[in-house]
């Protein structure tokens, strides 16, 4: 009985926050705290349903919830809750709930509260709908909606020109990825139609089970691009990954994420750390069977993920803005998740396990980091680390929770035991998998990326901690500890960041590996890997001791360096960290991305050259049309002068005409 009841409530998970959006948007102004109570209650409801479904599914992972309804034409909308979706749903609704509670206090002085809560409620609804969609189109629809909410919330303080610009940049940059995603969907649709031989009654074209059942045929379709024979499946998956790159801030479409910090900090925590940016990872995990069956796709994912992890870390280490450091950290960690998925070409389905595990843990500790940063900003009023310092004394709870989050992010823990932060249990498997990958294919680049990034992670996050919380204040500020409504969510998240990983590590991954073998889809990942020419080998856990300890060692090294420079201040950076140093300048200027993307590509090439030329063409076309008019008028202007009004001229014309006409008639008669 309980089972059926639960299933019937599954559709409520996204609907409740959507209703809250409507209520808060229209009536929030007249309610206390901007109507925050509706989103909180609604999301709490979603969380309860998701959590109960997850609990039940833990016992029986094969029984997934799947409901589909026709939407339009051959497309459908529906609910699919399998292990992957279940953990994501629980995490999203849980983190969202905490952040909403936190925001009641954080946003209390802002006149735009109703709008804020309405938009975050809409965001939560869209994100939940994304997670539980059972077809790629609904996935895309929700994907775009979360992008819209991200746009609206980054531009929440729209009177600030920088916020409006950042919102636009975020939307457009992710839009580039979205177009790739859409292109992938369109090619997929077209191929599926071809393979299925038209529309079949009773099946929904873009539902995941339908897509997965055509993987072998899709893989067999070959396209010829510039002389290379490429499988359609590879094209489609790479286009999907293009969408993921945009949404999850992977190189080279990561530029929007640091700018997105213009929004309220709670938004950064919710959207740009815990949930929306992980949608790209979720997309790759969701379509993992396609990726693993597509030759070379996972390779691209692994390389790009690993590179992003390192690349973002190098920029994170020189930023002076509290939130920007965290933003680069997010990009870097998302890179880890992508790397983890990419390693699926060797470790198979386990990749989904480790990657999503890291996603969940990251959500906890990164949301916590942002909320702590928000707490500091809320209390102190600045987010420039150079002006902070010594905040730990006035805000002890914030300092402690943030340190826990930092430890979790840097991945501190003792290998081989069950002692460790959450981040340790999810990040280390990824690094270890990269090692196995290197061992297997003799390609050590992903491993080197990941270990170097681990060092940088530790260095930048402890730089942040030391610069913010220790030492003496470097400016005049009046800090105070945040109220309980803010610190309680911090404490809860800190608890999760500390112990969630250790408590669930084995069960979690095993649970997730059931994602593709259940009542909805039943796939043999090994066969699919064979199609993609990927050779799967054993799992993690039996690496050399040094490899197990190396991540911890580099993390400690990072901590030590940060400690020496920013706590003890025994090492003076001096000329190293000045604009005279070209490397520092390169990093500080963020590899001149703004110059390349915004000024050169967008404004220069597209706006300045291409659009300008088109406008010139437009003027030419218009001139041609206008020329018809001008010529007609001009000719008439001349022709009307023939009507001189002088009778003699007419007479001349008449007589000449008669004469010529007679000759003409005569000639014609002759010819005939």
């Amino acid at each position: 009985m309980v089972k059926t009841a639960l299933e019937e409530f599954a559709f409520l998970i996204p609907i409740l926050p959507a209703l809250a959006f409507v209520i808060t948007f229209f009536f929030g102004k007249k309610m206390p705290a901007g109507g925050a109570i509706f989103p909180i209650l609604a999301i709490a409801g979603s969380f309860v349903i998701s959590f109960m479904i997850t609990l039940r599914m833990l016992g029986n992972p094969e029984e997934v919830i799947s409901q589909s309804h026709s939407w339009f034409a051959v497309l459908n909308f529906g609910v699919l809750i399998d292990p992957l979706a279940a953990v994501m749903l629980s995490m999203v609704s849980f983190v969202s709930l905490l952040i909403h509670i936190y925001a009641v206090s954080y946003m209390s002085h802002d006149p735009g509260k109703p709008r804020y809560f309405a938009e975050t409620a809409l965001f939560t609804a869209a994100m939940l709908s994304l997670v539980l969609s059972d077809n790629i189109l609904q996935f895309f629809v929700s994907w775009e909606l979360v992008g819209l909410c991200s746009y609206l919330l980054i531009g929440f303080w729209f009177e600030k020109p920088s916020a409006a610009a950042a919102a636009k940049k975020a939307f457009l940059t992710t839009r580039v990825g979205d177009v790739m995603f859409l292109t992938g969907i369109i090619i997929l649709t077209s191929d599926l139609l071809k393979l299925a031989g038209g529309f079949q009654d009773g099946t929904y074209l873009l539902r995941f089970d339908e897509i997965f059942s055509y993987i072998p045929q899709l893989s067999a379709l070959q396209a010829n691009i510039f002389g290379f024979e490429i499988s359609h499946l590879t094209i489609i998956t790479l286009l999907f990954f293009g969408g993921a790159i945009g949404k999850s801030g992977q190189f080279p479409l990561h530029v929007w994420l640091p700018d997105a910090m213009e929004g309220p900090t709670t938004v950064s925590a919710l959207i740009h750390a815990a949930t929306m940016v992980t949608a790209g990872v979720y997309l790759v995990a969701r379509t993992f069977p396609m990726f693993i069956a597509a030759p070379d796709s996972l390779m691209v994912v692994a390389y790009l993920g690993g590179f992003t992890a390192l690349f973002a870390g190098t920029m994170g280490i020189v930023m002076n803005d509290l939130k920007r450091v965290l933003a680069y950290s997010t990009i870097s960690q998302l890179g880890y998740m992508m790397l983890g998925l990419g390693l699926g070409s060797v470790i198979g389905l386990e990749a989904v396990g480790v990657s999503i595990f890291h996603l969940i843990n990251h959500a906890f500790f990164k949301a916590l980091l942002f909320l702590c940063a928000g707490s500091v900003i809320h209390a102190v009023g600045t987010q420039d680390m150079r002006e902070l310092g010594g905040v730990g004394k006035v805000m002890p709870i914030t300092a402690v929770t943030m340190t826990i989050a930092a430890l979790s992010l840097a991945g501190f823990g003792i290998p081989g035991t069950l002692i460790g932060t959450s981040g340790f249990f999810s990040k280390d498997p990824i690094i270890e998998a990269a090692y196995i990958f290197g061992e297997h294919s003799n390609n050590w680049i992903p491993y080197l990326f990941s270990i170097a990034a681990a060092f940088l992670t530790s260095a930048y996050i402890f730089r942040l901690i030391f610069m913010t919380f220790t030492g003496k204040p470097r400016s005049n500020y009046h800090g105070h500890e945040s109220p309980a409504i803010m610190t309680v969510p911090l404490a809860i998240l800190a608890l999760f960041a500390l112990v969630f990983g250790g408590l669930t590590r084995t069960g979690f991954m095993a649970f997730l590996e059931e994602t593709f073998t259940n009542s909805f889809v039943n796939l043999n990942i090994g066969n699919l890997a064979g199609i993609g020419r990927n050779e799967l080998i054993g799992t993690t856990g039996n690496e050399p001791l040094l490899i197990l300890w190396l991540p911890l060692i580099v993390a400690l090294a990072g901590l030590a360096i940060a400690f020496l420079i920013y706590y003890l201040r025994v090492v003076k950076l001096g000329p190293l960290a000045s604009m005279k140093n070209p490397i520092y300048r390169l990093l500080y200027k963020r590899y001149y991305q703004h110059e390349i993307y915004t000024e050169f590509l967008s404004l220069g090439i597209v706006y300045g050259v291409i659009a300008f030329l088109t406008q010139v063409i437009d003027v030419i076309i218009d001139s041609i049309v206008e020329a018809f008019g001008i010529i007609t008028v001009g000719v008439s202007e001349e022709l009307r002068k023939v009507q001189t009004g002088v009778v003699q001229n007419y007479a001349t014309a008449v007589i000449a005409g008669v004469g010529l006409l007679i000759i003409l008639v005569k000639l014609i008669m002759e010819v005939i």
Binding site: Q648, T652, I655, A656, V658, G659, L660, I662, I663
Partner: protein
Amino acid sequence: MQTNRLLPFLVSLLFVAVVVIGAFGTSWNTVSELPGNPADQSNIEGIGMLIFTQYAAPFEVLSVVLLASLIGAIYMAKGEGNK
């Protein structure tokens, strides 16, 4: 406007050439002999008969036209100045 006489001249020449060539190139269906009484060449009587019998109506109309034009001409030529 003495300058512009060439064109009218050419046009007149063209016209006369066309008409004359046309007239000469046509075989006219004429009677071989001029009719009538060789002694009395006059045909006034015949014309008078025609005007007052067959063409009586046009003749009346013509008289009205003449009268009207006469009145009009006198009126216009007289002008308003000298009453």
